[in-house]
């Protein structure tokens, strides 16, 4: 970003620390809570789709397959839902001091990243053990995580500043994220979905129209399949990250002028 932000990097650090501390204040399990949630979800999906309904019986190690999708999705959705009200929550600061307002949503998304990285750090060795994916492709994982962070950061900036202007952005987001979860290939593999085999357009739609899908696909092919993601996926992921962060910053800068008056 620009030099102004560089000068305020200590502020950014302080805000992240403050958020982290408030988030884990008074919880004995701390960061472990954030592992419990995806594990429970994974358990439920494994039970329903892996054992009861069995539509994806040909996916090996279905739990690991689902778990990776869930933690990527959780990072994405949590980033947006916590970024949306962030400017409003910090209105006291915005109204009284001049500092780059981007720091507020950026700090919130970064706190989510910290949790996400902790989960990835726990899941990666297990995935390597279960799936034998200690392959060169693993070297691409950091790049994918950076891209995912930038993607979430850009959208986080957008929803935070929009919510400051229009207070119904957060509820709309809440309403959209659940159906979004179900069309995202988290508990299924698009190519093997029963309804997609004779409707290729539907498969393409699910794969490419949903910007989260390629991110999950990329992380999953590295951790679960041990393969370098396809070229199309890689290009998509990097482009989406770039567009999101540049566009998000551009929109934020355009809409932030009146923040002190609006909040």
């Amino acid at each position: 970003m620009n030099l102004g932000l560089l000068r305020y990097r200590y502020l950014f650090e302080q805000m992240v620390r403050r958020e982290l501390r408030q988030k884990y204040k008074g919880s004995a399990l701390g960061v472990l809570w954030y592992l419990v949630n995806p594990l429970i979800l994974t358990g439920a999906y494994t039970l329903m789709f892996g054992l009861v309904l069995k539509p994806f019986r040909n996916i090996q190690d279905y739990s690991m397959f689902v778990l990776i999708g869930i933690i990527v999705w959780t990072f994405f959705s949590q980033s947006l839902t916590s970024a949306a009200p962030s400017l409003l929550d910090q209105s006291a600061l915005v109204r009284r001091v001049r500092f780059p307002r981007e720091t507020i949503p950026a700090a919130v998304v970064t706190v989510q990243l910290a949790t996400f990285l902790a989960l990835i750090g726990l899941v990666t060795p297990v995935a390597i053990g279960v799936r034998g994916t200690l392959r060169p492709a693993l070297l691409l994982l950091p790049l994918m995580l950076v891209a995912l962070y930038l993607f979430a950061l850009g959208l986080g900036l957008v929803v935070s500043v929009l919510h400051a202007h229009f207070r119904d952005v957060a509820p709309i987001l809440g309403a959209v994220l659940l159906p979004w979860f179900f069309v995202t290939p988290i508990f299924f593999r698009t190519s093997q979905a029963p309804g997609v085999s004779h409707r290729h357009w539907l498969g393409s739609l699910l794969t490419w129209a949903n910007p989260v899908a390629p991110f999950i696909d990329a992380v999953r092919s590295i951790l679960y399949a041990g393969r370098v993601p396809g070229a199309a996926t890689l290009i998509y992921v990097l482009t989406a990250a770039l567009i999101s962060v540049v566009g998000g910053l551009w929109l934020f800068r355009r809409l932030e002028r009146e923040l002190a008056v609006l909040l």
């Binding site: 000068r7 305020y8 200590y10 502020l11 650090e13 302080q14 805000m15 403050r18 501390r21 408030q22 204040k25 006291a92 600061l93 915005v94 109204r95 009284r96 001091v97 001049r98 500092f99 202007h165 229009f166 207070r167 119904d168 002028r257 009146e258 002190a260 008056v261 609006l262």
Partner: protein, 401 residues
């Protein structure tokens, strides 16, 4: 606009605010609101074509009635409120003290809040570390600096907030009304610190209702009325203009905070001391405290004793406690202490007023703060414990109506 550090420029600045009970816009409001545009009240013009140029090292006081645009002007100068038209700019590093408590995370200690506040103003960790000892010293918060700020009284907040702003070494210091809170000793110290900043070449813009503070600090006054500059010039003239404007030219009531040394008997010294007999303005509930007083009589004063009254008031001005004493005078003066074994007050800010002899008015007022503590609220510290009773000890059953 290229400005020297400390320079401030406002050119034809105008700004209007729309007044709506519900500030938040919704998408629905945006879609429907267009069709019934007539419902919305007309916007309030907070600033109309305001122009001023302040050179580095100047000290400007902004006065005006409520709603005259004082705070908007500061908001614009601080770069927080954008203008509808015109230009504004401050050169160099700007530190704002607009409202207290900005950036104060409630669960964070005073020390952590110093770091957060410094960071908000664009300072790096090492820049803050260079200043933190002076900030803590100035605040006189002592060991309270490492206590979460949720236990602070508002007087303690003022101390912390002002100390931070005063020691960040800004080129431009924008201060809104905050000096009005806090005790007298600290206010005087703040004004002294402001003079130091002025001597070091900082530019200061002070918005205040207190003409006294403006008079002591500023060499230039801007009077705002309905968003426009109606006077810009020397302080003495400016304050006169302001008093005429608001119709309070007649003598203001006697300032109880300054001693009347011509009275037959006056309070020449007043100090609060803590359990370690150190001067302090901040106390714990249940601590011991001493009120140290010096009384001075005029040569012709005939009585052998001096009648004094102490009155303690809470932050709303209600009397919490009042007592009298008659210390003996020796060679025309008396030095006494009123000793409080256990300060049975809960967290808050208190005023202590001292009156002497025949005077109706209280001659001296000082303020102090008590830190908040868990387990009780209010003024009086009657904290006790709950105990289970044996059957024989039970309260008699109340008759049922």
């Amino acid at each position: 606009m290229k400005l020297e550090p400390g320079e401030i420029v406002l050119e034809h600045a105008s700004r209007a605010f729309s007044v709506r009970a519900d500030q938040g816009r919704t998408l629905k409001g945006l879609l429907i609101g267009r069709r019934r545009g007539g419902v919305e009240p007309p916007p309030v013009q907070a600033l109309r074509d305001v122009s001023m140029r302040v050179g580095a090292g100047e000290t400007v006081g902004i006065v005006g009635r409520n709603g005259a645009g004082k705070s908007s002007t500061l908001g614009v100068l601080a770069g927080i409120v954008p203008l509808d038209s015109g230009r504004s700019g401050c050169g160099g590093r700007v530190v704002t003290l607009l409202e207290l408590g900005a950036g104060f995370g409630r669960d964070f200690s005073g020390r952590e809040n110093i770091y957060l506040n410094g960071a908000l103003h664009g300072f790096t960790q090492s820049e803050i570390e260079q200043r933190i000892d002076r900030i803590i010293d100035f605040s006189e918060l002592g060991h309270f600096i490492d206590v979460p700020v949720r236990t602070y009284s508002s007087g303690m907040f003022v101390r912390l907030g002002f100390s931070i702003a005063a020691y960040l070494d800004a080129d431009v210091l924008l201060i809104d009304e905050v000096l009005a809170v806090g005790d007298e000793g600290f206010q005087r110290k703040c004004l002294r610190r402001i003079s130091e900043r002025i001597a070091a070449g900082a530019t200061i813009v002070l918005v205040s209702h207190d003409p006294g503070a403006i008079e002591r600090v500023c060499d230039r006054v801007v009077v705002l009325e309905a968003g426009a500059v109606v006077y810009d010039g020397s302080t003495a003239e400016g304050l006169l203009f302001y008093h005429r404007l608001i119709g309070t030219l007649d003598a203001s009531p006697q300032d109880a905070r300054r001693p009347d040394t011509t009275a037959p008997l006056h309070v020449s010294g007043l100090e609060l001391r803590d359990s370690g007999d150190r001067r302090s303005q901040i106390f714990h509930s249940g601590q011991s405290a001493r009120i140290v007083l010096s009384l001075q009589a005029q040569p012709g004063f005939s009585q052998a004793t001096a009648a004094v009254a102490l009155e303690l008031r809470d932050e709303h001005g209600s009397t919490v406690f009042r007592t009298r004493g008659e210390p003996e005078l020796r060679d025309g003066r008396a030095d006494v202490a009123y000793e409080i074994e256990r300060l049975a007050l809960l967290g808050g800010d208190y005023d202590l007023a001292v009156a002497v002899a025949d005077q109706q008015q209280f001659a001296r007022v000082t303020s102090f703060s008590v830190a908040h503590e868990p387990g009780a609220e209010g003024i009086a510290d009657l904290r006790g414990s709950w105990k289970e009773l044996a059957a024989s000890d039970r309260a008699p059953t109340l008759p049922t109506p």
